[in-house]
Symmetry: C2
Subunit: 202 residues, 2 copies
Amino acid sequence: MTSPARGRRPGSPDTRAAILDAARALFASGGLSGTSVRAVAAKAGVDPALVHHYFGSKDDLFVAALQLPFDFREVIVPVLAEGPDGAAERLLPVFLSIWDDPDLQTPLLALARSLTDPSSKELMRDGFLKVVIGPIGVALGIDEPERRMPLVASQMMGLIFMRYLLQVEPIASMPSAELVATYAPTIQRYLTGPLPPAGLDE
Amino acid sequence: MTSPARGRRPGSPDTRAAILDAARALFASGGLSGTSVRAVAAKAGVDPALVHHYFGSKDDLFVAALQLPFDFREVIVPVLAEGPDGAAERLLPVFLSIWDDPDLQTPLLALARSLTDPSSKELMRDGFLKVVIGPIGVALGIDEPERRMPLVASQMMGLIFMRYLLQVEPIASMPSAELVATYAPTIQRYLTGPLPPAGLDE
């Protein structure tokens, strides 16, 4: 049974937008684990079944709420299929071609800027890494993905800040091929290379 | 000749604060190169000589305007003295001990959060990298410091975001020794290791 709020018809574009608005607000305050599909449905004034109908699982809803201009998980499928060897050299060009696309860059930059909002800690920690970044490591079949993927993210995030947000030279103007050759050894070591013993403390 | 504004006596703490306020406002809008000591003095209502008296050179004034709780350039002197070999393993512990200090972490986090402000592009690009980060590379005596230090900054910045701002595990709780052993090979390669030909474009 649907219970449309403020006269919205179930299934209308309004309903979809209301669900997304509710999801963004709740994910921002409660993170992924603190937000239920039921709570999103209640806030949007719709039946939980409608949320699943439009967005699939809670993880899918989270990815939709990130408002990425595409589903990063799909773009990355060809990279994942070939396994961990040389993955950095395949991953970086895909990543750069997305960020270098003028149409995608504006919404991505807005997302990157929001990283310093207080709500981002929950969203990134509990959501983006678990739902988007983490599964890449699992799908690649690397060892210790929960340890290695945050290292990968730490370099990718710094590269994004320097190249796109702060536009620091020479990184801002570097051709894609030079960036790939510069950063691939770092990313590949984080993915599959030797790391110190976990918990090393002198 | 001094021309104190609003009745401030030259040399009073008020004068110093007024100069800093003026410097911060002008550096934020015009960057380092677009801001003269004369303009800062005019905005603060004091003689340019007073600016030099309190803060030294324009670069020194810029560092003061960053409101770091210390002068990074001084902290880093012992690291620089030993040259580029193994510099990453000496640099990282200094860097982490500063960021892990609870008294320093709050002002540093405020600075990191401000990186997504529109004014930060100028400040970082034209100021922080030129005045603080760049000279470290020059003082270390590495080749191509203007190319290599931004690479170093790209990894350091991502590490700061993951560990301190977003507090992503396991990076957030990693012992310093494990972080040094994890990131030193990356930083050392950026400082002194092989890089692709500059401008490589397929």
